[in-house]
């Protein structure tokens, strides 16, 4: 039987659904600091929206609290600015109650890894079809600069004047350990790569997790310079693509090779540098492919 809600949501869309990115920009000022990495996430998201091929009214962005939490205000679709740490829980209820929607979550390293950690791992496990974009600036910015669960050991912040004591989470490892079926990592400086990650996340039928290294130029400026600055970048990052060889370096002369062990389920490698440790992994499960790249 068709309910009243079914009637409302099955009303045919009037007009074209061929959009341009600007159709997703509402008429408000973006209130992030000038130079914030957040802008580099907003723009590729707005760019891929037309590609979803669905009416604007069928898209919802849910967020928690943090600088990332403002994201829904900057998207002219349905938006819900929730409470700290609960975006995935709210989004899961929305998606289960409204399977017809394209549901996205914007969250931060504090929002998602600290207070929201439980909903995050259960989201990974439950595999509800939502897309989670995590702004990882390795600091709590909205509360003006305390360390987060992704801050590196020794990081000096307002609440760790002598340096943070604990090992940080590796968000991708945590997601995979929790059973996630789509795990990806990108960086604010590479908008085109981000765009491709968002596209694949949207296409993935299940829970997608995209971690974005996002520079906070106020409270943690340059956190990712050691492997993203032009001069070191090529030597410090591996682009990981399903089925492609793991070649990297300015001269494309470095690589990672695996042999001998039948990689039926997992492969793990590490690239270790004095400045940073980047995990690279690829996972193929019965349910789906997952892509993860630095």
């Amino acid at each position: 039987m068709k309910t009243l809600l079914d009637e409302i949501i099955s009303k045919p869309h009037i007009g074209s659904i061929v959009y341009e990115p600007k159709d997703f920009k509402p008429d408000v000022d973006v209130r992030w600091c000038a130079g914030c990495g957040g802008y580099s996430i907003l723009s590729p998201v707005q760019r891929i929206m037309p590609e979803l091929g669905i009416p604007k009214e069928k898209i919802a962005f849910i967020s928690g609290i943090g600088c990332s939490g403002r994201f829904p205000y900057y998207m002219d679709v349905y938006g819900f600015h929730g409470i700290h740490g609960r975006a995935i829980a709210i989004a899961s209820g929305l998606k289960i109650g409204r399977p017809d929607l394209s549901v996205w979550v914007a969250t931060g390293d504090g929002d998602n890894m600290s207070i929201g950690g439980n909903h995050f791992i259960h989201g990974c496990r439950r595999n509800t079809n939502i897309n989670v974009i995590m702004f990882n600036n390795e600091v709590y910015s909205l509360t003006k600069g305390q360390y987060s669960p992704t801050s590196h050991k020794g990081q000096i912040t307002k609440s760790s004047p002598l340096g943070a004591l604990d090992e940080p989470f590796n968000p991708a490892a945590l997601a995979l350990g929790a059973g996630a079926t789509f795990v990806a990592r990108g960086i604010d400086k590479d908008r085109n790569h981000l765009q491709s990650l968002f596209e694949r996340a949207a296409a993935h039928n299940g829970f997608s997790f995209i971690e974005v290294y996002t520079n906070c130029n106020i409270f943690n400026d340059g956190a990712f310079d050691s492997f993203t600055k032009k001069d070191v970048r090529e030597d410090q990052t591996v682009m990981l693509e399903h089925g492609k060889p793991l070649v990297f370096g300015k001269e494309r002369d470095k690589g990672i090779i695996i042999d001998g062990l039948n990689p039926r389920w997992y492969r793990w490698w590490t690239v270790n540098t004095p400045w940073t440790t980047c995990w690279c992994m690829m996972k193929k499960t019965a349910r789906s492919h997952s892509y993860w790249a630095i």
Binding site: L4, I8, Y78, S92, G93, G97, R98, H119
Partner: protein, 615 residues
């Protein structure tokens, strides 16, 4: 053998035994059979907090009490008329509540030396004359069953498991109850276990026949059917009624139901019932915790579902922050709190009424919402529908309070027709041109509900204060004051949309009782008894606690004395005093067990006699 038939108006029966003795099952079958033969029934299961406490211990006793009546029965009975005691411990813990002259059916095997020791009896009460105030019928159930099943080829192991059906057969004979429904139930339950099926049916009949033939069973009891409003009835627990209320409300509102929840005693049943209704298109999420339970419900509500979350005290505490979000976003949400004894983990299987403060005042910031309370198991259905009505009409979260007593106890409930229910049509936005997130209905002050999927109404809501009408984030001081006041006023106006209180008992009395929640049965019975004795007491029972019914202000002004019985230290009393500035008398039982009718009656008598003395 000639047997006597005794005609009664009401009687209280209690099945008591070890946790493994199947007393809950026997009690449930007996009460369903009684209800279906038309008498009024009120039941209460009473089991230990251990899953399976050690056999034979005092703390391992599990019991099920049923009060039957040919007139309205409001409680499960203060005192027991007939006690089925499967072992020594179950006699010991229940004897205190047995009426002088009451009947004990004792299972001899449960009174062997091991059991007597576990029950801390130094001598056998069945033999030492200590029970002479009662009518004792002692019999060795196991021996009789073995005899009965001897020819059947059924294994002796099964015999042990059927004792409860023997006891049930005895009581069916005592009350001359039809056994078909129970046989049918057994057929369904054991459809893949022919042995158990046969054994149970045979043992059930054996019980009946034993009573019929044995001369210890001299009397049969007859209760006339009670006069019920016409309709289809079903014996129902409060938790079941909440589950059905949610399902029916969603049907009536014509939007899907979403339940986001996390198990917790004594609310878990609601989740379990709902998870069994999956075939009706109901969506539910057993979430990772209470916070995710309510947060997912808020998400589903945002998406246009009738959303609900169910819990008990510790869970309500965890949901507080998210309730504030629902208040701020003005989304409809039904929150059911099945209260248990606190604070903290408290006495998790025992009822209490001590979450009222939290429901009223628990949130940070000015976050008003409607608070309702169900009066009985069947009333849980009505109040759940009422909670859904207010939530949808006023775009607000609503807290419905029930408690472990009515949640697990049962009474007959008349199954209503959909058209008897109030209108629940949601206030969906229709016209994109006139839509803004905080445009309000001038009457109810409710905002319109625009859900994702509605073209041209894309908007953003959230926990930050918003500008009235437009819904833009606003830090404007005057706007904040205005929004705080509107949110309060919206809830206040609900007072105009709820029924006035009806005064029960004697409206012209000097003494008024104000009750709320599950104490209804005990207070009503006491007030009725007092009235029958020609004394005067007035009684109102609150189902809406926030806002309060409008006529309460004049009512409280009319009485010399006001008594507020509650299973807490005086939470309603405090709320009413703050509102009406009239002193009230608290009656506060905080023991994890419901009031007895006799306790309320004694208190009324005490107050009335003081009153007289002052004349």
């Amino acid at each position: 053998m000639e047997k006597e038939i005794i005609y009664l108006d009401e009687i209280t029966v209690r099945f008591a035994g070890d946790s493994g003795d199947g007393m809950q099952l026997a009690g449930k079958q007996f009460s369903d059979a009684s209800a279906s033969s038309g008498v009024d029934v009120n039941t209460f299961p009473d089991f230990p907090s251990e899953i399976r406490a050690p056999e034979g211990t005092l703390y391992g006793v599990s019991a099920f009490q049923i009060k039957l009546g040919s007139t309205a029965v409001n409680t499960h009975g203060d005192e027991i008329d007939l006690l089925v005691a499967m072992n020594a411990s179950s006699l010991k813990v229940n004897l205190g509540n047995l009426k002088v002259g009451g009947i004990i059916i004792a299972n001899l095997e449960g009174f062997d030396s091991r059991n007597l020791k576990l029950a801390k009896y130094s001598s056998n009460p069945l033999e030492d004359g200590s029970l002479k105030k009662y009518q004792v019928i002692a019999l060795d159930m196991e021996a009789i069953i073995k005899e009965e099943l001897k020819t059947s080829g059924i294994s002796p192991k099964i015999v042990k498991k059927t004792k409860n059906f023997f006891a049930l057969g005895l009581t069916y004979w005592l009350f001359n109850r039809p056994m078909e429904a129970t046989v049918k139930w057994l057929n369904a339950k054991f459809k893949n276990d022919a042995d158990m099926l046969e054994a149970n049916i045979r043992v059930l009949n054996a019980g009946w026949n034993y009573a019929l033939k044995n001369e210890d069973f001299k009397r049969q009891y007859n209760l006339q059917p009670a006069k019920f409003e016409k309709g289809n009835y079903r014996n129902i627990s409060g938790n079941h009624a909440v589950a059905l209320g949610l399902v029916v409300a969603s049907k009536k509102a014509n939007i899907p139901l979403f339940l986001g929840t996390y198990p917790i005693t004594p609310a878990t049943d609601i989740l379990q019932y709902i998870s069994g209704y999956k075939k009706y298109g109901i969506r539910h999420l057993q979430a990772e915790d209470e916070i995710a339970g309510i947060a997912s419900a808020i998400g589903a509500s945002y998406g246009g579902n009738l959303a609900a979350t169910t819990t008990s005290g510790p869970g309500l505490s965890l949901k507080i922050e998210a309730i504030g979000l629902a208040v701020m976003t003005e989304l409809p949400l039904v929150i059911v709190d099945v209260m248990r004894a606190g604070p903290s983990t408290g006495l998790p299987t025992k009822p209490e009424q001590s979450d009222l403060y939290q429901a009223m005042y628990g949130r940070h910031g000015e976050a008003p919402l409607p608070v309702l309370a169900a009066a009985s198991a069947a009333d849980c259905f009505n109040m759940t529908v009422e909670a859904a009505r207010l939530a949808l009409k006023y775009m607000t979260p609503v807290i419905l309070l029930t408690d472990g007593y009515i949640a697990q106890g049962t009474e007959p409930w008349r199954i209503p027709e959909l058209n008897e229910l109030p209108d629940l049509t949601p206030n969906f936005a229709t016209d994109p041109d006139r839509f803004a997130p905080y445009v309000r209905d001038p009457q109810t002050l409710a905002r319109m509900w625009a859900v994702p999927g509605m073209q041209g109404m894309e908007h953003r809501i959230g926990g930050l204060e918003k500008q009235n009408i437009t819904g833009a984030v606003s830090h404007d001081p005057e706007n904040h004051q205005k929004m705080v006041e509107i949110r309060q006023e919206k809830i206040n106006r609900i007072a105009q949309d709820i029924p006035n209180l009806e005064i029960m008992g004697s409206p012209e009395a000097n003494l008024l009782i104000i009750g709320w929640g599950s104490t209804y049965g005990a207070i009503k019975s006491a007030v009725d008894a007092i009235s029958r004795e020609g004394k005067k007491v007035a009684y109102v029972h609150l189902r809406h606690i926030n806002p309060l019914p409008t006529n309460l202000a004049t009512i409280v002004g009319r009485y010399k004395e006001i008594l507020v019985p509650e299973m807490n230290l005086g939470q309603l009393k405090n709320i009413l005093q703050a509102r009406y500035l009239i002193p009230m008398i608290g009656m506060n039982k905080v023991q994890g067990i419901p009031f007895k009718t006799s306790e309320i009656k004694a208190k009324i008598e005490e107050l009335l006699s003081k009153e007289e003395a002052q004349l």
